[in-house]
């Protein structure tokens, strides 16, 4: 077995002359080491076309003069049917012109019949085949280039040395608003672009052609002739011929208007964000997972005492804070980074780089990668709350002070209240005194004007009483006159007593003795069947009393009691000491300090068995000139004088009806 020989190239012979066919087959097949083999023969063009359709043929040997076709048409028809198959034309010796024409039409070679030998034929076959292959390669490359140029969205052009377009692709054709690319050929940028860009591009291209240096990735702002503005990224290269001479330029340009706009938008957003964080009063900063500062806003830079971001970026807490504070803050950062849980609004105190104690309210948020698995760093927002802290502290202090002042104020108010009540008492006393003063003046006037005439009358009566006078009624008349005079004098005396200057002359006195003396003085008033019951506590403590005035009080009260009983009754008088256990009648009104619970007091009680005082009149009995007695029986001043005197002694007086009958007068004095 010999080694497999490579497959031979298949040859189609189209020839109507059987002798020529034989000869050609011999020459093709019999040449030593021939790589060609006649695999098909056709005497007519029609037959040849059939073969090309149905069989694989690598090369054709074609006689132009066939029964069904002549001349160049024969070639054209067959070549049209199989353009990739190389054709070698066989011509008659007298028709070389025709053969040459077919070469121009695409024939690979022509051979003149009769002047062909095996060697020449084989060379022509090989050459045709080789040319066909390279042509195919070329065509493929041309197709690739064509596809590229026609389909790529980037704009591609070729220009000659005068920067005139010699080739542009479809994208650029579209940009120029042309239907066909060749409409642009021979024109320049100036025909399509605004003058600015066209001029600059021309400069670039001239420089490029001089230096041979390509222009790579230039961002150009282009204004189209119609005013449209675009951004593009352009690369320009020198266009060289095969000898390396620069014969023009070519370029590829990509419109990046959208990218550019996005970029600008991004830049705007970035600037906006930057402006936002820089204008925030809060401290905003980012750190990487190791605690290096990555980004700081203006407030944070200021706070750290830095003038520029570069002084902070890449540094850590330890560059700005004491080791102790940095360690504490860093541990906290690392905790957030490790746990991936944010810490929000933590109060922390630090000594800032200027050495001031500051309070901050800080939130630390872990900054995770896109998968949310890994901590890339920390986002921190911090607010300096030192002022608030200080304000809070001073507020607390102010509150405490306020509370203290409030206490003081309340105390002061109490004092004022007390003072006010004292003042009111004094005022009442002053009003009372003023009232008494005017009553006093009035009384003195009345007394003077009335008592002087009375004195004359008295003298007259006394004189007449000493005479021996005629008439049985004379002495009776004198007595009546004397009584009337005494009565008038009594009214004036009462008035004077009531309005007399209120000054006491107190001594240690025995109340019982005053009472006993008083009872003696009123004995004359008892005209009827009266009984006197005395129950006087023997060891009564001595009291500070004005004996004359207190005597006046008892005489007055006894007289009232006797008058109330009319024809007869029982007058009871008791004295005793007691300890106050509660506030009794009238005691509550007393301004005296003496009538506090627990104090010892001396009580005198006077009961009568008369008819009592009508309840509606009880309230008025201490008013001056008020009396329940019939006209001529009382001045109406007695009880008001009594009350005044008792008040002056710091005592109390209470008058009330007894349950069964009569009136009880209760006097109390401090022991």
């Amino acid at each position: 077995m010999s080694s497999p020989r490579p497959a031979k190239h298949r040859v189609l012979v189209v020839e109507d002359n059987p002798g020529d066919v034989f000869l050609l087959r011999e020459m093709v097949n019999e040449e030593p080491n021939s790589r060609f083999l006649v695999t098909a023969e056709a005497g007519r063009l029609e037959q040849a076309m059939e073969v090309l359709k149905s069989e694989q043929v690598d090369v054709v040997l074609l006689d132009l003069q066939l029964p069904d076709s002549h001349g160049a048409d024969t070639f054209t028809i067959l070549h049209g049917a199989a353009p990739d198959v190389p054709i070698i034309v066989l011509s008659e010796s007298d028709d070389e012109e025709l053969a040459l024409e077919t070469v121009q039409l695409g024939a690979h070679e022509y051979l003149v019949k009769g002047r062909v030998d095996g060697h020449l034929l084989h060379r022509a076959l090989r050459y045709a085949l080789e040319r066909a292959r390279s042509e195919m390669q070329l065509a493929r490359e041309r197709d690739l280039l064509h596809t590229l140029l026609e389909n790529i969205p980037d704009r591609i052009y070729f220009k000659d040395r005068q920067s005139r377009f010699i080739r542009i692709n479809r994208a650029l054709t579209a940009l120029f608003g042309l239907e066909r690319a060749d409409e642009a050929y021979g024109k320049t940028d100036a025909d399509f672009y605004g003058a600015d860009h066209a001029g600059e591009a021309l400069q670039d291209e001239r420089r490029l052609m001089e230096t041979g240096e390509p222009l790579l990735g230039k961002v150009e702002f282009e204004t189209m002739a119609d005013g449209r503005k675009t951004w593009s990224l352009t690369t320009k290269l020198p266009l060289r011929d095969r000898k390396g001479r620069i014969i023009g330029t070519c370029g590829i340009s990509r419109e990046i208007t959208e990218i550019k706009e996005m970029e600008e938008q991004l830049a705007t957003e970035r600037n906006l964000l930057r402006a936002v964080i820089d204008n925030l009063p809060d401290l905003v900063f980012l750190k990487d997972a190791e605690g290096h500062y990555l980004l700081d806003n203006a407030a944070h830079l200021r706070w750290l005492g830095a003038h520029d971001a570069s002084e902070v970026r890449g540094r850590t807490l330890f560059d700005f804070f004491s080791d102790e504070i940095a360690t504490r803050l860093h541990a906290d950062d690392m905790e957030v980074a490790a746990s991936r849980l944010p810490k929000l609004n933590q109060e922390e105190y630090v000594i800032d780089p200027q050495g001031n104690l500051r309070w901050r309210l800080t939130s630390k948020i872990p900054w995770l990668d896109n998968d949310g698995l890994c901590t890339v760093g920390l986002v921190c927002i911090s607010r300096d709350i030192t002022e608030q802290k200080l304000a809070e502290a001073s507020l607390k202090q102010a509150n405490a002070e306020l509370a203290a002042s409030r206490e003081e104020l309340l105390r002061a108010v109490e004092e004022v209240k007390f003072a006010h009540s004292e003042l009111r008492d004094v005022q009442l006393q002053l009003i009372e005194a003023e009232k008494m003063k005017s009553i006093g003046r009035l009384s003195a006037g009345v007394a003077h004007e009335v008592k002087n005439p009375l004195a004359i009358l008295k003298m007259g009566i006394d004189f007449l009483s000493g005479q021996k006078l005629e008439g049985e009624h004379t002495s009776m008349i004198l007595k009546e006159m004397n009584d009337a005079l005494a009565r008038a004098d009594g009214v004036i005396r009462g008035l004077l007593d009531f309005s007399a200057p209120k000054q006491l002359e107190v001594k240690r006195e025995n109340l019982n003795k005053i009472i006993v003396d008083g009872l003696k003085l009123v004995r004359g008033e008892m005209k009827g069947s009266f009984e006197i019951e005395r129950d006087l506590q023997p060891n009564l403590p001595p009291l500070d009393l004005d004996a004359g005035k207190i005597s006046q009080v008892f005489v007055n009260l006894f007289t009232n009691a006797i008058h109330a009983m009319g024809e007869g009754g029982t007058l009871s008088v008791r004295t005793f000491t007691k300890q106050l256990t509660g506030v009794g009648a009238n005691v509550g009104d007393s301004r005296s300090e003496s009538f506090r619970v627990g104090r010892n007091i001396v009580v005198a009680e006077i009961d009568d068995t008369g008819n009592g005082i009508p309840e509606d009149k009880l309230a008025k009995i201490f008013e001056p000139f008020y009396t329940t007695k019939p006209t001529g029986k009382g001045t109406g001043l007695g009880l008001s004088v009594v009350k005044t005197i008792v008040d002056l002694h710091g005592g109390t007086i209470d008058i009330r009806n007894l349950h069964d009958a009569g009136v009880r007068v209760t006097l109390m004095f401090q022991a």
Binding site: H448, I456, F463, G466
Partner: protein, 126 residues
């Protein structure tokens, strides 16, 4: 009847002439007293020097001059200083415990003859 030399000399100063006239009448009627009345307080001191009384009854409230001032004038006169002065007044109640005004004893008007005589006896004897 006492002789004029043994009769007590009573000087009464009061602007109420009715009162002084009746007092003089009544006291002198007893036969034991010689009474000199003076109704103008401003004249009282000179009248007293002239009359040389054993006792003086002096009204307090008088026009032109106060009884107290008259008492001062008389007290500052060595010739009269030792004569007892009893005030007579209508504006003091007898029931008041005080029986002196400015160190002088007093009697409240109206006053009975009996009280006057008791007062005279008390101060200068029978």
């Amino acid at each position: 009847m006492d002789t004029p030399s043994t009769k007590k000399r009573i000087f009464v100063v009061d602007d109420e002439s009715g009162f002084t006239r009746l007092l003089k009448l009544t006291l002198e009627h007893t036969g034991h007293y010689i009474v000199k009345e003076e109704n103008d307080g401003t004249q009282a001191w000179l009248a007293a020097r002239e009359f040389r009384p054993d006792i003086i009854f002096l009204d307090i409230v008088m026009p032109k001059i106060d009884g107290g001032d008259v008492a001062q004038q008389i007290r500052s006169d060595p010739m009269l200083a030792r004569i007892p002065i009893i005030f007579l007044t209508a504006i003091v109640s007898q029931t008041e415990s005080k029986s002196e005004i400015g160190g002088f004893p007093f009697i409240s008007k109206p006053v009975s003859l009996e009280a006057i005589i008791r007062c005279i006896t008390e101060h200068i004897g029978e």
